[in-house]
């Protein structure tokens, strides 16, 4: 009770005080200034540099222009080394939505486009364009000057800001054109000029305001015309009285100028008390409007847009004079400079050159800071260029910014909390960061820390708090990155699992369909037997009933079941009647028959109800089911490893029809307002996806058949496409057979000469060898003939036939026959059956070779060495054929998903086979064909990788687009777009998966 009492006392007194303060301010009519929590009052040191006037720095001899001087994508160079460029000429164009172009800041020659160290916290190198000045010329390439910018379309003005490369000069360098388009998404009522410049030492904005107040007012008017605010507030700290006076005078002059239209919005200079960090965007918004930018939000979320004076002046120059952003005001200050002042310097000017203008003290510079002492970062060298966001170069002596003291233990004094402008608990964040309890640090809103350094400044224990927070933020970022990565991997895995399950289910469904058909015919048979026998009626009815609970939705089956039940009932009734009429049967028999009749009746009723239910269900499900099942068939068709073009065409046609059906069904459903429209939409989407896939498959297959044809055909024994390689193999086979004949003849002759040995056997072997030679010649001839005739024909069966014919040849031909059989598998059909035949042929060839070798070694005749070589070759061929078969079998399951996803796996299918072909070939052509095949394989793979990459990119683009559409969608379209996003996401995952697979293949290679 006491607590709440006290609390209410405190609260009420506070609100009363606030109300009173507001009332007073209103009464005086002065602009209201609100308060933000915390803040500090570090020594300002502004007088060092704000007494000297703003001067233009001399033109630099050389400029180094980084391509990334802004937030967003780096610019893309448009110039070449050695190219002459004029001042203001576009030398790198913006890339992507958030980006800014870069313009030449002097007239000269491009001498380098290379990575150089850039002025960045990281101290990293980045791509820069280096321009060397030519003589004393400063020749400008301006855009069109629009002194009458009020006549221009808003779109043109925004484009001008983009073309002129205007980015925020105060902080991160956010492209101003993007900020100017804020009206597309947010209603803005306040435009704020952030002229607080709260950081000590910096006076660039101060001097800009004093020197160019009219330009600032005009720039504000331009920006106001683009975003349409109710009021424009210039927030300025009370330590810049001269700037306040200059701006107020400029505003009065503008109001008095009768040639110009009156100001559209209220324009006011609001002087705020000097307190760091009042120039923080969020803090200034709070000071001027009492609004708080939501955590992780933008000022536009509370209807505010904030610009920096330098930026506003750049806007005015870009619009009114057509000058791109090629220079800016930089404060040269610090105790290590003898003549600190502000200069207007061309971007890319070296920091060393600028510091020389301010006469560095002979004692040297201890610490060189880009930016102010609170949020700036130290530079490791002065050989760096200034960029669009360089507002100050602070060259300090060891005394002015001494080295940080040794960190003492935190005494939890809470001074940091009193100073924190984000109202955080800095010391808790410190403990959490130090203990690596990042999750707790996140809960304590670490992300809202603006790294202003107020906490570190006041810390009596000299703890570098901000450094701890940066560390924690970095750790959290990388953890999040890791989490996203693993999430993606998980998603990919789950998607793959789901897809495999789906395919399995499709297979299962087909299998069940077949099983059902079989069951149906069995039921029909059962009916027939039931019709013959009265007592079997109940059995038939049971069979019919058993058929009923089957998951089948086949109405025909139900009809048959009903008919059977009907017949069974009639039979049972007839039997009962006959028994009753005859009076011969016992009462128990009659009772049994009566029971039969009742049972049959029940079964008939249940069969009828089942039929009714099924037909109702089929009516409602028909359109969707039709679409889905057709599409499913199409998919399966497309996925078969045969990849038959015709089949694929049919599949595409089927998919097309499925899409049309599904669309029609959807339309009907939409028109009638009945049915599950979203389900139908999904089915349309799915059918379309399948159509797309079928088309992709077809395209891939036709491409594949084109690209694979020569290679595959070359290995076919029948020489369907009959290139030299095959004929050569056959020729070799013939030659081998020829040699075998000659050897056999020689052996025979020797035997005859010596009169020893089994002459008849040798004669037989000669005859045998001759007949084989004849056959080999026949094969060769057939192949040569077929070469012309049978081009383009399907090679699988022919090849196996060829393998079959080759089987009959003997040792000499065995190797070649296996060779001939093996390449047959390389045909793009990848027919497993053909491969099996080939393996069998190879097997036989091995056996034959073994037999021949055994015979030869037994007889001690013939060239055993040759035969051994042949056997080895045949064995190799057999192995190759087996490998090929295995890979084809595995491929028929593996290749399917990939082929569906990227539509590009088919050209890959023959590859393992092609490899083994190389291994299996005769020594004479091993090297050549191997190299050829390897090359074509690599080429294919590279091609496919490229295609899949493109597919991934396309899918990404589609997904992004869909997401963007969804984010802007109204409620009506949300459902549809959500489905679309879902689909594009799945497609994207699928494509990525394919890419990963291809990548794995590439890596393996």
């Amino acid at each position: 009770m006491v607590l709440s009492l006290l609390k209410s006392m405190v609260t009420s007194s506070r609100s009363a005080a606030t109300a009173e303060a507001e009332h007073t301010q209103k009464g005086q009519g002065a602009p209201r200034v609100f308060d933000f929590h915390g803040g500090i009052h570090p020594p300002e040191h502004k007088a060092l540099s704000n007494r000297a006037p703003l001067v233009a720095a001399p033109l630099p001899r050389e400029v180094v222009l980084p391509l990334s001087q802004h937030i967003g994508a780096p610019a893309q160079p448009l110039v070449e080394i050695g190219q002459r460029v004029k001042t203001g000429e576009l030398i790198a164009r913006a890339q992507g939505m958030i980006s800014a172009p870069v313009h030449a800041s002097i007239t000269g020659v491009v001498t380098a486009i290379e990575p150089r160290q850039i002025p960045h916290v990281s101290g990293l190198e980045d791509q820069c364009i280096v321009i060397e000045r030519e003589g004393e010329i400063d020749e400008w390439a301006r855009l069109e000057a629009w002194r009458d910018w009020r006549q221009q379309e808003a779109q043109d003005l925004i484009q001008r800001l983009q073309d002129a490369g205007v980015v925020g000069q105060g902080g991160a360098g956010f492209p101003s054109a993007v900020k100017a388009r804020v009206r597309e998404r947010h209603a803005i009522d306040t435009l704020i000029l952030n002229a607080a410049e709260c950081e000590p030492y910096i006076t660039a904005d101060d001097l800009t305001m004093r020197t160019h107040p009219e330009a600032l007012i005009e720039g504000l008017e331009i920006l106001a015309s683009l975003i349409g605010p109710e009021c424009i507030l210039i927030g300025i700290e009370d330590n810049k009285p001269e700037a306040v006076i200059a701006l107020e005078q400029a505003i009065r002059a503008r109001r008095a100028d009768k040639r110009l239209p009156p100001l559209d919005s209220r324009l006011e200079v609001v002087v705020v008390p000097t307190r760091y960090p009042s120039g923080g965007e969020k803090q200034l918004i709070k000071l001027l409007t009492d609004r708080e930018v939501p955590s992780r939000g933008l000022p536009a979320d509370v209807g505010v847009v904030v610009h920096n004076p330098g930026t506003v002046r750049a806007v005015q120059r870009a619009v009114c004079f057509g000058e791109p952003m090629i220079s800016r005001v930089v404060t040269l200050t610090g105790e290590a400079l003898q003549h600190p002042h502000n200069v207007e310097a061309r971007l890319g000017t070296s920091i060393a050159d600028l510091l020389r203008l301010a006469a560095p003290a002979p004692t040297g510079i201890a610490r060189l800071v880009m930016g102010g002492p609170m949020m700036g970062f130290t530079l490791e060298s002065d050989a760096l260029p200034i960029i669009k966001t360089t507002n100050c170069l602070l060259a300090s002596s060891p005394e002015s910014l001494p080295a940080p003291a040794v960190e003492q233990p935190c005494i939890r004094c809470g001074m940091c909390e009193q100073a924190c402008p984000a109202e955080l608990l800095p010391q808790q964040l410190y403990w959490f960061s130090k203990a690596r309890e990042f999750d707790k640090a996140e809960l304590y809103n670490l992300a809202d820390c603006i790294e202003c350094g107020a906490c570190s400044y006041v810390c009596p224990s000299q703890i570098p708090l901000v450094q701890y927070y940066r560390f924690a933020k970095g750790e959290i970022r990388s953890a999040q990155h890791e989490a996203r990565k693993s999430e993606r991997a998980r998603h990919r895995f789950e998607f793959k699992q789901a897809r495999m399950a789906r395919e399995e289910a499709e297979k299962e469904a087909k299998r069940q369909q077949r099983a059902q058909a079989a069951q149906k015919s069995a039921a029909a048979r059962a009916d027939a037997s039931a019709a013959a026998d009265t007592t079997s009626a109940s059995a038939a009815a049971t069979a019919a009933a058993a058929a009923q609970p089957a998951p089948a939705t086949d109405i025909k089956a139900f009809k048959t079941a009903r008919a059977a039940a009907n017949i069974a009932l009639k039979k049972a009734e007839k039997a009962l009647k006959a028994a009753q009429d005859g009076g011969e049967s016992s009462e128990s028999d009659i009772a049994k028959l009566e029971a039969n009749v009742t049972a049959a009746k029940t079964k008939l009723a249940s069969a009828e109800s089942a039929l009714k239910a099924a037909s109702e269900a089929s009516e409602s499900a028909a359109p969707a089911a039709a679409g889905a099942s057709t599409a499913g068939t199409a998919t399966t068709g497309a996925a078969t490893p045969a990849a038959d073009l015709k089949a694929l065409k049919t599949a595409r046609a089927a998919a097309n029809i499925a899409v049309k059906k599904a669309e029609k069904a959807l339309k009907t459903a939409q028109d009638s307002g009945e049915g599950d429209i979203s389900a139908l939409e999904t089915s349309v989407a799915e059918a379309k996806a399948r159509l797309a896939k079928a088309e992709a498959d077809l395209k891939a297959a036709s491409e594949a058949s084109e690209s694979a044809a020569p290679a595959a055909a070359s290995t076919s024994a029948t020489g369907a496409a009959a290139p030299a390689a095959d004929l050569k193999a056959l020729k070799t086979a013939r030659a081998a057979a020829n040699i075998a004949v000659k050897k056999a003849e020689k052996a025979l002759k020797t035997a005859q000469d010596s009169g020893e040995g089994d002459i008849p056997a040798l004669e037989a072997s000669v005859t045998d060898a001759k007949s084989r030679l004849a056959k080999a010649e026949g094969d060769l001839k057939a192949a040569t003939d077929a070469a012309g005739a049978a081009q383009g024909a399907d090679k699988g069966p022919v090849a196996s036939a060829a393998a079959g014919s080759a089987q009959t040849t003997d040792t000499g031909a065995a190797g070649s026959s296996a060779n001939a059989a093996a390449p047959a598998a390389a045909a793009p059909s990848a027919d497993i059956k053909a491969l099996k035949t080939a393996r069998a042929a190879a097997n036989i060839a091995v056996k034959k070779a073994e037999k021949a070798l055994a015979r030869a070694s037994e007889s001690g005749e013939g060239d055993i060495e040759d035969l051994q070589t042949l056997l080895a070759t045949a064995q190799e061929n057999l192995r190759a054929a087996e490998v090929r078969l295995n890979s084809a079998q595995a491929g028929s399951t593996d290749a399917t998903p990939a082929a569906k996803g990227a539509g590009e796996l088919i050209p890959e299918a023959p590859k393992p086979a092609a490899g083994s072909v190389g291994r299996g070939s005769m020594a004479s052509n091993v090297t050549l064909s191997q190299a050829e095949i390897e090359a074509s394989r690599a080429e294919n793979l590279a091609k496919r990788h490229k295609q899949v990459s493109i597919a991934v990119k396309a899918a990404e683009a589609a997904h992004r687009k869909a997401e963007a559409a969804l984010s802007e969608a109204d409620d009506e379209n949300r459902q549809r777009l959500a489905t679309k996003v879902d689909r594009t996401r799945r497609n994207l995952e699928h494509a990525r998966e394919s890419l990963a697979e291809v990548q794995a293949l590439v890596d393996a290679q």
Binding site: V2, L3, V10, P42, P43, K282, K286, E292, V293, P294, S295, I365, A366, R367, V369, G371, P373, M374, F377, T378, L379, E380, S381, D382, L394, S396, A403, P404, A405, V406, Q408, P409, I411, R412, C413, G414, M415, E417, Q418, P421, A422, E423, L424, L425, Q427, Q428, D439, L443, N445, D448, C452, G453, Y457, C459, P460, S461, Q462, P464, V466, R470
Partner: protein
């Protein structure tokens, strides 16, 4: 040119722990002066002995713990602890009492917990509570406020136990006297000058005011915020006012509670110890109110006449809890978060 590489901010304010501690020491001077004025040499002996022993023990412990001795001694935190303990002890406390207290404060409550910034309990109050429980007689031996009536030599001899402390010199504190008034009603108690000499009352009131002055210095230097003193004294005043209003004959008035004990001293110098107090402004309010309420309850219904040490230690226990539940609403957030629920994040 070799340029220094450092992380922002590059500027640092003039605050330093040693300066903070030095200002706390400076702020105790008015209180110490008045204390000496009324209670003589004993106070100074306590102070000097405690500070010497404290700094020596701190140096020893730092050395044992392998820490840089002079770096940590320079932060003046041991001096502050010892001074706060010494001024809490009775002026006639013997040397061993002081030494025991300093060991408890510096060795046990501070260094064994990890040194400066790591101790969950206020070291001076840990020592005080330990002494109060272990040596109740010595701890309640307050002399009458005779100033420097007892000579330097006598005081020194008493301090080192060479001569016994005469019982006749002891005098009850106002709170103790009121506590032991027995069946008497409030008005009867105040009417009898034998029960509580006017000089006693005056001495305590003057001391309270002196401590308050020192506290104002701390506030003005922004070394402490108003939250804890105001919440603590406010809650003590409110609760004692309520009880006094309900039954004025049995309960002391808010004025007695605020001015005749160590309430002011505790509010500005003890409860505001940054290491052991709550962190956020809101948390400090709860923490201060808790101390104020506990002080009243222990004084009125407990076994001890004053209760700053127990109340502060009890609230030290609850600081982590208070901290979790009193996070401020950060900029850009609709409301403050309460507690730590990590699963919320998912």
């Amino acid at each position: 040119m070799s340029l220094m590489h450092a992380s922002s901010p590059h500027a640092h304010g003039p605050t330093a722990t040693s300066r903070v501690m030095a200002w706390v020491l400076a702020a105790t001077l008015p209180g110490i002066a008045v204390l000496c004025w009324h209670y003589g040499w004993g106070v100074l002996f306590n102070l000097v002995f405690a500070c010497l022993a404290g700094v020596a023990l701190e140096a020893l412990l730092l050395k044992l713990r392998g820490r840089p001795v002079s770096f940590f001694l320079k932060d003046n935190s041991a001096l502050v602890t010892c001074v706060l303990l010494a001024v809490s002890l009775p002026p006639l406390a013997p040397w061993w009492l002081v030494l025991t207290g300093v060991i408890a404060a510096i060795v046990v409550a501070k260094q064994l917990y990890g040194g400066l910034g790591q101790n969950p309990f206020n070291p001076a109050m840990v020592a005080y509570a330990l002494l109060l429980i272990s040596f109740p007689v010595e701890m309640s031996r307050w002399s009458s406020p005779d100033g420097f009536a007892i000579g330097f030599t006598d005081s020194l001899q008493q301090f080192f136990g060479v001569i016994a402390t005469p019982d006749a010199l002891t005098g009850a504190t106002p709170l103790d006297a009121f506590r032991n008034k027995g069946e008497l009603s409030s008005s009867e108690f105040w009417a009898d000058p034998n029960l509580l000499p006017a000089a006693n009352l005056l001495a305590w009131q003057q001391m309270a005011i002196a401590w308050g002055l020192g506290g104002l210095v701390l506030l003005a230097r922004r070394l402490i915020t108003w939250h804890i003193p105001v919440a603590m004294l406010g809650s003590l005043a409110v609760i004692s006012a309520i009880f006094a209003f309900v039954d004025g004959e049995q309960h002391a008035s808010p004025l007695i509670h605020l001015l005749c004990g160590a309430a002011i001293f505790g509010a500005f110098f003890i409860a505001t110890d940054p290491v052991t107090a709550a962190t956020s402004n809101k948390g400090k309010l709860y923490y201060g109110v808790g101390i104020g309420v506990l002080i009243y309850l222990i004084r009125t219904f407990g076994a001890y006449p004053d209760a700053i040490a127990f109340a502060v230690l009890l609230m030290n226990f609850s600081v982590p809890f208070i901290d979790y539940y009193t996070q401020p609403r950060s900029y850009g957030h609709k409301k403050a978060r309460r507690g730590i629920k990590l699963e919320d994040k998912a």
